[in-house]
């Protein structure tokens, strides 16, 4: 578990991080979002002990990063934006060195390294110099070093940068799999990626927390109650009139889909009402076939743009 309380970091007169507080629960993936320069990397550097905060506290599984740094750091695996790689070492040598740094017992090292290499798919390049690897492999070696020592907390800054689509899917699956017994903070500019893997998101802007919630709750909060889009074959005005009679529907508006014979309407339910089942049965009873029926929640991208705009 990570507990961040009132974190502040000054760079001269500028507050790079301004009173940030949030927690990451056990076995949770937290998406960490914000525009460039919002303070994401600074916050992650403070959490991992690379930088010290001007004020505030970071607790890693109950250990303060400044008061008990060795205990706190033992529980963290960190993949920074630029993977910290020694280009003059082979992958195997490098991971052995990381094992030394993270004090992995000597008798467990060989198997541990082999497991991690299989997990991130770098076994085939274990004997090659890191400097000669492609960007994708370097990124995966960086991820492998974060996993050394099996720390219960992982902090991953742009973990899929430089990977091809297949590798991205593989790493996402791995992150999901790791979340069964790890707390993970993932920062990424690929919002669909965060939407897919994160349980909750923290959005920071200008060094401050702008939002902390699940993606669903954030988008609902942004749009009030979630709207529903429905397209069907049938008389628009009649359908609209019938739908308005369903308790819990606040408004019905007809949209022009541009497809002949097809009508599109938007349902706006009253707060706290789920009207989908009633709407469906009413349409079925009336013999008006539904062609599409989906929630109009804003995407994470829309939520992000709305929160960070200006």
């Amino acid at each position: 578990m990570i507990e961040i309380k009132n974190l502040v970091k000054h760079y001269g007169d500028k507050k790079a991080v301004n009173d940030i507080s949030f927690t990451v629960k056990d076995n949770e993936i937290l998406g960490f979002l914000g525009p460039n320069g919002a303070g994401k990397t600074t916050t992650m550097n403070i959490i991992t002990g690379y930088l010290s905060s001007t004020s505030g506290s970071v607790k890693i599984n109950g250990h303060d990063i400044l008061e008990e740094p060795a205990l706190a750091k033992k529980d963290i695996g960190y993949l920074p934006e630029q993977p910290p790689l020694y280009l003059d070492m082979t992958v195997d040598e490098y991971l052995k060195f990381i094992c030394d740094l993270k004090q992995v017992p000597a008798k467990e090292r060989k198997e541990h390294i082999s497991q991690i290499m299989d997990m991130v798919g770098i076994s085939v390049v274990s004997g090659r110099l890191i400097g000669n690897l492609s960007k994708g492999y370097k990124q995966r070696v960086g991820l492998a070093q974060a996993l050394v020592g099996d720390p219960p907390i992982l902090i991953l800054d742009e973990p899929t940068v430089g990977l091809d689509p297949n590798q991205i899917i593989g790493i996402r699956k791995l992150i999901k799999q790791l979340s069964k017994n790890h707390s993970i903070i993932v920062s990424s500019h690929i919002l669909s990626e965060i939407q897919e893997i994160a349980d909750r998101v923290v959005i920071i802007n200008h060094g401050k927390v702008a939002a902390v919630d699940t993606i669903m709750d954030l988008s609902q909060r942004l749009s009030g109650t979630s709207k529903i889009l429905m397209s069907f074959n049938g008389p628009a005005k009649d359908v609209s009139a019938r739908l308005k009679m369903i308790p819990g529907i606040a408004d019905v508006s007809i949209r022009n889909p541009g497809v002949p014979g097809e009508v599109e309407i938007t349902l706006a339910p009253k707060a706290g009402n789920d009207v989908r089942a009633n709407a469906f049965f009413m349409m079925a009873k009336s013999g008006w076939p539904i062609l599409e029926f989906r929630s109009l929640n804003p995407s994470l991208e829309e939520v992000f743009l709305s929160i960070t705009a200006g």
Binding site: H10, Y11, G12, N45, T48, G49, Y50, L51, S52, T54, P69, A70, L71, K73, K74, I76, Y78, P80, Q82, P83, P84, L85, Y86, L87, D88, M89, F97, I98, D100, L101, K102, Q103, Q145
Partner: protein, 255 residues
Amino acid sequence: MQAIFKREFLSYFRTPVGYVAMAIFTFISGFIFYTQFASGYVSISQEIITLRALFIVIVPIITMSMFAEDRRRGTEILYYTSPIEMFSVVAGKFLAAMALYFVMFINVFIHMIVVKACGGTVDAGVIGSILVFFFLAALFISIGLLASVLTDNMIISAIVAFLFILVTQLLSVIGNYCGTAVSTIMSYMGIAASTRTAANNAVSGFIGWFDPFTKTEDFSLGLFSVSALVFCISFALFFLYLSFRILEKKRWSQK
């Protein structure tokens, strides 16, 4: 510390740095030994004393990348975010450079074996010279390490180390110049000759006190002085501690 030591020591041989340093040392020591051997008189002490002049070239080469390169490549984050003490990182890197010096020095040990095999003597003066060599190496490597901590640029780090070592090697001369300068200024102020002489001696004596070469010059005669070795090791530890504090302070940087 062991992990850092191993990585740093092996890195000297993964890049040209270790080979260049060894080539310079081996060539010069070989040349000195060959010249002495050809003349019919070999003094290992003299060879070691001459080799001390190479500190100014070799130390900047082997220390310039110690921390500056880590910072440039972003690998320093590993040290700050691992559950190891930053001082053990400093100590590991320092000991790796010392070990490289030891490897280079094997050449001189071979010369000693040749001298012994040819019926020559390896006396207390030689042992003293070797002791001083390594204590001075420790001092200058700690200075080079500090220079590497101070800057992100390897070239600037090498130049800073070079200047530091140059000044240290010239401390006696600098002391004399400063003493004379103070005396001259005092003479313009009309101060009595006896006072000027005392001031001259005080200034040159004060600056000269920091000269490790003067302090250790009797070792080659077989006259050992613990205080001289304590002097070298104290300053080496001071520079290492200073490097450690600067690295720790960077964590708190507000720039």
